[in-house]
Amino acid sequence: MSTTSGATSSASKPASTRAKPANKAEAAADWADGRLGIYTLAKSNLRKIFPDHWSFMLGEICLYSFIIIILTGVYLTLFFKPSMAEVVYHGPYTPLDGIRMSEAYASTMDISFEIRGGLLIRQIHHWAALVFVAAMLVHMMRVFFTGAFRKPREINWVFGFLLLVLGMFDGFFGYSLPDDLLSGTGIRFMEGAILAVPIVGTYIQMFLFGGQFPGTDIVPRFFTIHVLLIPGIMLGLLVAHLILVFYHKHTQWAGPGKTEKNVVGMPLMPVYMAKAGGFFFLVFGIISAISAIATINPIWAYGPYRPDQVSTDAQPDWYMGFSEGLIRIMPGWEISVWGGHTLNLGVMVPLAIFPLVLVAIAVYPFIEGWITGDKREHHILDRPRNAPVRTALGAAWISLYLVLLVGGGNDLFATHFHLSLNSITYFVRVGFFVVPVIVFFVTKRWCLGLQRRDKEKVLHGRESGVIKRLPHGEFVEVHTPLAAKDLHTLTAHEQHQPVELAAATDENGVARKAGVLAKTRAKLSEGYFGEGGQIVKPTAEEFREIESGHGHH
């Protein structure tokens, strides 16, 4: 097999042409390389360049909180009993002494009150989950508003989106496991939603719950989904997500020395390793401290679940709040179809809008790509102001989310601000349609204003705050011209032209019909990049002309 060793070594020498390792560590690395090929792997990665910007940390927070969730989750599975068998509680928490409850609830009580450190780990697990979902959402906003989702990163955007959705649902399943009054109410909600599905709803409900609500199967089933199924898929997606980040290399902001063809920053080893590695500990440390201080999900205060009881401020975790908002503001429409079958629109419509609000994010890169028709790779980020329509759409989406969050917390708003519950609901019903539109137009105008300011700055320099009196008596403010690096940074962005519809007749004079799709695309493109969609950026000629006039204006 090994022909090389026979050819290059004499009998007395080791069969390798490699230089002698300098120390033990190198020897160990040599050993591993012979089995795993680590040198080839490390060759291009050890000094891989990562650009620096605070917003690039958001993705790291997601990764680290995910790791924290897994670590604490493993600990919790060692003590948690995912069973709905009934037991009578006789633990140290006296208010619940002698109360019947499921083993799931009882073991969560034990984790909280009898296992040293158990309460802390439970709190870290829950807090980290909230941070995880929040960080994913904010990370996606960063990617969205900077256009980092453009080619070649569309697929990674979709991976990230799936991670967000799975994260939200895994959070919901986890929240349901302790079988306390609040989590049981959440599951009841889910049952009602499933029953509202036409035709197959009752079947899905029976199969999922193993019989009628609540039955005794739902907690063990959710447990498997929560700790195995969804995290498994998420882990796979996460690895794929990170491999793609490595492969595409990170995006960067425009600036001197930065082009579409390079990436400028610090090497992985040592700076980025130290910063990123250190950052993991910072995140973990902060979440631990929060968990020591702020109680989250005090299940002992809610009591075990009973379907005929409820605690008052029944609220899901915040990331499910917008679905709660949808369900609360929907009028109770119930209609009869096909000879007496019931169609529960009041629950079904919100149930359908929920994924639509989410999917709107998932497909955006493809829609924008289609509108621009841009087939090139993009590695330089857009400043949000330079893509006004995209920025405005994102802001409108966020405002919709927030409006629904208000709807989901209408009882809290009512009690805290002494408002009428009904008027908040009516307000949210109107706001659902109106607020995003207003936010869209305001944001777009704002972006255009900022673009105009940039243009002004490029052409006339920065306001210096020095007022000068000219010989003929006029007062002017002295503007200092921008440095070359700022001039470049402010003018580096690209401007798309709206796509034109092909001429109505082709070169032979034969009438050509533009399809609906092509027309829509031209319309959208005009909206994005036509007049009113962007401010034409300053040209070199304009700049020189003003320069030659010595900045008088």
């Binding site: 193993g210 082009t259 700076v271 631990s288 020591a292 379907p307 005929d308 079958h341 320069e547």
Partner: protein, 356 residues
């Protein structure tokens, strides 16, 4: 402070770019190239560097102490020790001590590493080239050619019958997995249409048992203006299917002056103004628990569906789609409140097969 810095360590000049700047004069907006590296204080002042080194180590030492503190807290504090800490209030001493020491131990490692990277590791920005993700035309042509050869050798395109039957078999085989899920649960049948009250008949009525006292009730026990909760006689908490039963059987009783009851049918189902409604909200099934005496409105805390109990539990606000079902009640020979049959319609959230 600046006199600490020895002259020979200072950089020669500032502000000029490296060589790769484009000729700036013909395009004012051209990329001037990477700016010159500005040294940090720790780069040129050995004393500052030493100080930074000590700071980093100090953080690592604090972390070690905190971990020792964590272990000590685990041993020292009793799990049931509650202490008062301003402004948090009463908290578990163990949880508080463990969480803070762990937090400090982890945070200081992170802070040390980041401080080390920021002050002492090189902060030279380095450009690295990107390569297009797309392969060049030659590679593309080569791969496509190889694929074509492979496809031709398989005969996949030529032998249509094999291809089609293979696709068919692969499309069908996942069905086995779906079928296997059938035994997850029973068929719905009539389960959702009936409650535990269905065993009641006029000959053998079921008593209404007060959920709080576990006693049967006489009409005079139901006070005007309050909400009383009831379950059927014979349903005990110890019962194996208690949760499933109570999820459907739970009743709420109100007493309204008979003249105030707007709905005749509803009044007839009640007894001397006592009305027994399902406690399970018809929206998605939360138990209804809030009652306003003056208006006779009952509010579901989950999504605020509001029902007018004086008017057949009609929905007057919120997302619920239909009124709460009402149970017909009367009294037995001993004068206890009883039901003589099931609800006329299914309780709880509506579903496809629900007849209206």
């Amino acid at each position: 402070m600046s006199h600490d810095i020895s002259e020979e360590n200072l950089p020669e000049s500032h502000g000029d770019s490296h060589g790769h700047a484009v000729a700036v004069h013909d395009d004012p907006f051209a990329d001037p190239g990477l700016p010159v590296h500005e040294p940090r204080r720790t780069d040129i002042d050995e004393r500052a560097a030493k100080r930074a080194e000590r700071q980093v180590s100090l953080m690592f030492v604090i972390s070690m102490l905190a971990t020792i503190g964590f272990i000590a807290s685990y041993v020292i504090f009793d799990i049931d020790k509650i202490v008062y800490i301003f402004p948090l209030g009463h908290v578990s001493a163990l949880n508080f001590a463990l969480g803070l020491t762990l937090g400090v131990a982890l945070f200081c490692i992170g802070a040390g590493a980041v401080h080390w990277a920021r002050t002492l590791m090189s902060d030279h920005e380095i450009p690295a080239e990107r390569h297009p993700i797309e392969a060049d035309d030659e590679v593309r042509a080569d791969v496509i050619e190889q694929f074509r050869t492979g496809a031709a050798e398989s005969g996949f395109g030529r032998r249509k019958m094999i291809r089609n039957t293979m696709i068919g078999s692969m499309a069908l085989v996942p069905l086995s997995g779906v079928v296997l899920l059938r035994d997850l649960g029973p068929m719905p049948e009539q389960k959702l249409n009936h409650t535990g009250w269905q065993v009641a008949t006029p000959q053998k009525p079921l008593q209404l048992i007060n959920v709080n006292t576990n006693e049967p009730m006489k009409p005079e026990d139901v006070i005007v203006g309050s909400l009383t909760f009831a379950k059927p006689e014979g349903l005990e908490e110890e019962a194996e299917d208690f949760q499933v039963q109570i999820a459907k059987d739970a009743l709420m009783l109100v007493r309204i002056a008979p003249d105030d009851i707007k709905d005749n049918e509803s009044r007839d189902k009640g007894f001397e103004g006592i009305l027994a409604y399902s406690k399970i909200c018809t929206h998605v099934g939360c138990p209804i628990s809030l009652y306003e005496q003056q208006t006779h409105h009952a509010l579901c805390p989950c999504h605020q569906s509001t029902f007018d109990l004086a008017d057949g539990a009609r929905v007057i606000f919120g997302p619920a789609g239909h009124p709460l079902p009402q149970l017909k009640i009367t009294t037995d020979e001993q004068g206890f409140l009883v039901a003589t049959g099931d609800f006329d319609e299914p309780v709880g959230p509506s579903f496809w097969e629900r007849k209206r």
